[in-house]
Every structure is written in C-alpha cells, then in structure tokens.
C-alpha cells in the first residue's frame, strides 16, 4: 500500500462552530508534507484527528490503512508523535528515558546512536527538566522516532526556536526523511519552513484547504496579482493583473512611447500567502 494518509470530506464542529469544513488529503508514503496555515485555521485539530486524539464530525480518515478512532497498540507502534509542548518525565535522565520508552517497542533504535544523531550525547546523563527549549524539542523528536515509526507527526515543531535552532532542526528533519524514507506530516504557520522541508504543502485556511501542491507550483498558484501603476491624463491609475508584462506592452502601444510613472510590482510568495490568508479570513 502506497498511501500513508487518506482523508475524504473531513469535518469537525464544536457545537455551532465549524472548525474543519471538508478536508481532502492524500499523502503517499515517504513524503514530507506540510500543513500550512495561520493560527486557528484548524491545523492542530486536523493532526489530532489523524493521531487518534479527537473524534470527527464527518468524513473518512485512514492513517496507515486504519481509522484512527479504532487504532490499537499495533497501529500506534507505527506512529511517532511530536506534539506542540511536552513537559513530561522531568525527573528522568535523557538517555535513561530514551532507552526506557524505546523498550515499549519491538525493534527500538539504539539509544546512544539516536542521541548522537540528535546532538544530545553530551546531555545523556542530564535531567530532562534541566534541558533548554531546543534540547527538549530534540529529545521529543528522539522519543517520537525511537520506535522506528513509518509515519511521524510534527505539530508546530519550531515554535519558540531562535533562528539558529530552527536551522539545525530543519537539517535534522531533512536528514531523517532522506535517510529513513519516513513519511512526515508537519504543521506550521511559517511559509519558509514549509517551503524548505516539505515536498508538498497544503494551505489550510478557515477549515478548508485553500490550495495544495509542490512549493514551486504553489508559488505560481498562490501568486497574487501584480499591480501596475501609471499616470494617464494627469491622474494616477492602477490595475491588478495576472500578466503585468502584457499590460505594460499594451500601455506602451497606447502611449506610443514611454508610459509616464509606470511601475510594476510583483508580490513576494510571502505576501501572496498572506494575501490568500487575509482574503479568506
């Protein structure tokens, strides 16, 4: 079976409030997929339904071929989860905890190799409660992958990171995905992060998938219209267009020469994304 996650018409409402309004997702095995969207778009609700933490109001969901509402131990053993914040097991030592939680699985990773891969070797004997934010996050990833999961969920993995820690974390996820062929579903509100890590991105806005595809396709699709300005009859004119070059050519012909005050502005991908998010809100 080549599909890791299959979602059809997923809806979730709390009372009268619709949080998810019909989501479709197909995530093949081995892909790094980002669910991108502003806060409150429904990213965490979606990922928690996929993880089996929440029920749903309607729709079909299959995660590794199993409906998460009915997933048992054998299913859970194939998943790794890194939730937004963890504060657990503060009295345990780093290596001790990795080895202990690994022993719940049939074929765990070697704790020392895992700590080395995550740059936590020096912290092996340190108490979990004394780790810095970035170290704690790396430990959470270690615990997420200690059981060699087929599918890893990362919910807002770099929130609260400084830029350096974020870079380091990105390299780590890229390496894991490349070396292990693990399927990764991550949520983020950071376009740059999604672009850097994911093979495909779905933009979730207001409980719907506004757009999805590879980052390059997305950049094209999401591209907001360019604004072309010029001065005509002493008045400033402006027009939004998908094809600014054609408009400029048309203006040149109309003026039969230089166009007064001509200005063409293409929005950046980030601006386009914000525009998309803003339009839906």
């Amino acid at each position: 079976m080549s599909t890791a996650i299959e979602v059809r018409g997923l809806r979730m409402s709390y009372g009268a409030a619709d949080v998810l309004r019909g989501i479709d997702l197909d995530i093949p095995r081995g892909e790094v997929f980002a669910l991108l969207g502003p806060n409150g778009a429904g990213k965490t609700t979606t990922i928690e339904i996929l993880e089996g933490f929440r029920g749903r109001s309607a729709g079909e969901v299959q995660v590794l071929g199993v409906d998460p509402e009915r997933g048992g131990d054998a299913w859970r053993a194939r998943l790794g989860m890194v939730l937004q914040t963890w504060h657990d097991h503060r009295r345990w030592q780093v290596r001790e905890l990795v080895a202990h939680l690994g022993s719940y699985y049939d074929d765990p990773r070697d704790p020392d190799e895992l700590l080395a891969a995550l740059g936590l070797t020096e912290q092996a004997a340190q108490r979990v409660g004394l780790l810095s934010g970035g170290q704690r996050r790396r430990l959470d990833v270690a615990l997420g992958i200690v059981g060699r999961p087929d599918l890893l969920f990362l919910d807002e993995p770099t929130t609260g990171f400084d830029p350096e820690a974020r870079q380091e974390f990105h390299r780590l996820i890229e390496k894991l995905a490349a070396d292990e062929g693990m399927t990764v579903l991550l949520t983020t509100h950071d376009l740059v992060e999604a672009e850097r890590l994911a093979g495909r991105i779905a933009i979730l806005v207001d409980g719907r998938i506004a757009m999805h595809g590879a980052p390059a396709d997305l950049a094209r699709a999401v591209q907001a219209q360019s604004r072309v300005r010029w001065v005509e009859d002493g008045e400033e004119r402006a027009r939004a267009t998908d094809d600014p070059s054609a408009l400029a050519w048309e203006l040149h012909r109309r003026f039969d020469g230089p166009v007064p005050g001509l200005e063409v502005r293409r929005p950046s991908l980030e601006e386009s994304y914000l525009d998309l998010v803003g339009r839906a809100a």
């Binding site: 914040t85 009295r91 202990h100």
Partner: protein
C-alpha cells in the same frame, strides 16, 4: 519485553528518582514516620487507660494502617494527577503498551514506598517504643490486602482530580476525617453509632482492625465493635474494595486519557499558569 517487566523497571526507576531528590524523600519519610517517632517518645510507654497494653503498641497498629491508606488514597491520586498535568500520561498513551506499563509502574512505586514506611514504623516501634512483636503473618496479609484495596481505588480517584494542586485540597479533609473516625488513633467505640457505621463502610477501619488483631492481646477486644477481631469480615470487606477498584480503575484511566491531547494539555497549562 512484556508489560509486567517494563512496568516493574519503570516503577523502580521512578523510585530511584524520588530517592535522588532528597527533599521529596525527606518529606515522604518524615511525614508519617517522624510524627510517629515523636508521639512514641512522648507517650509511647504509658499504658492505654485501664489496660496493660502500651500506647506505643496501639499507635503502631494505627500508623501502619494509616500509612497504607494514605499512600493509596492520597499519594497515588496526587501522583496520577501530576502525571496527567505534565503530559506523562499522554506520552504513555501514544506508546504501545503505555497505559498498562504505567499502572504497573505506579503500583511498584507505591509498594516500595509502603514497604519502606511500614518497615520503618515497625522498626522504630520495636526499637524505640518497646512495642511487642506482632503476629507477623497477620500483619503481612492485612497490609497486602489493604494495599490491594486502596491502590486501584486511588488510581480511579486520581483520574477524577482536576489538577494536582486541587487534589491535595480535595482529598486532605475527607482523609483526615476518615482517619479520626476509623479507630486507627482513637478506639472506634467512643464514637457515636452512626459514625461507627460510616467508618465501617471504608477500608481504613478494617485495615486498622486487622492490624490491631496482630498487635494487641484479646483483652483489648472490649474496645472493638462486637467485641471481636472479625478476621473473615475484614478479609471480605478489603477484598471487596480491591475488586471494585480493579474493575473501576482501568475504565476511568482510559477515559481520563482518551479525552487528552496536546492542545488540551497546553490549554490546561495556560489556565494553571494564569491562576
């Protein structure tokens, strides 16, 4: 590896963490054992009025009963509530075998705690208080069955507690009241009859009775309800509580963790920080 073995290792590791944390260890030990030693030195060698049994012997039986009872119904619910609050339960819920391992682990932690405290109380009693040696077999079965009677129940209560902070407040008062009326410190027959009936509904009374039967001579039976140690009844009531707890605890624990998720945890954390 199987659940039982991982659970035992988990419980043992948790124990070592408590031992390393000196403040927690001291609080745990000084709490009950310290108070007991003080009382023993102060009034242990005087006889209980109208008898030839020393206060120390009576108190030893009472403190043993209370140790088991408070470990199961105070410490355990607070531990579970704290484990829920900081996400430990959620972490284990998303791992295969997590919840059964957790329960076994907490059981082991608690058994170690109860064993150490009971041994200390007995040791202090015999060494300092001149307590006469009890009937060991009776002590063993009453403590064992009493532990079984309160541990699953304590786990169930722990699942119902809204937060570790409020757990202490919610549980503290009823536990103290139960201790006073259950005859572990003061003979139950001095209480009004209604209170005696209430006391007999809870495992603490029966645990105390069973332990007194191990420590005290039959001449003390005058202070007991029905003038008898009632061992068969004791076993039946403690066994009943054990069974009820064992049936109830996994259901409640599953329910408490099923409605748990990362975002709910974060919400509660924020609320706790704001309060």
């Amino acid at each position: 590896m199987n659940v039982l073995w991982i659970g035992v290792k988990r419980g043992w590791a948790e124990n070592l963490h408590v031992m390393k944390d000196r403040r927690e260890l001291v609080t745990q030990l000084v709490g009950t054992v310290g108070v007991f030693a003080l009382l023993l030195v102060w009034m242990g060698d005087k006889p209980v009025r109208g008898t030839d049994v020393s206060n120390g012997t009576f108190m030893t039986a009472g403190f043993l009963a209370f140790t088991v009872f408070s470990a199961g119904l105070m410490s355990l619910p607070m531990m579970i509530s704290a484990d829920r609050e900081d996400g430990t339960l959620l972490r284990l819920r998303i791992m295969p075998r997590g919840i059964p391992v957790y329960l076994v682990g907490r059981g082991v932690t608690l058994l170690c705690q109860i064993t150490v405290q009971c041994a200390l109380i007995l040791g202090v009693g015999v060494a300092v208080g001149g307590v006469t040696a009890p009937h060991w077999a009776t002590v063993a079965w009453v403590v064992a069955l009493g532990t079984l009677a309160v541990v699953p129940l304590g786990a169930a209560i722990g699942c119902l507690m809204p937060s570790p902070k409020s757990a202490g407040a919610i549980l503290g008062l009823p536990m103290m009241a139960l201790m006073v009326v259950s005859g572990v410190m003061i003979p139950v027959t001095v209480m009004p009859e209604v209170v005696q009936w209430i006391a007999q509904a809870f495992p603490l009374y029966w645990q105390g009775l069973g332990l007194r039967s191990a420590f005290l001579p039959d001449s003390m039976l005058a202070a007991e309800i029905a003038g008898s140690w009632r061992p068969a009844f004791t076993a039946a009531v403690l066994g009943g509580w054990a069974l009820a707890g064992i049936l109830l605890a996994p259901v409640l624990l599953r329910r408490a963790t099923r409605r748990e998720s990362g975002s709910r945890l974060a919400e509660r954390r924020l609320a706790a920080q704001a309060a």
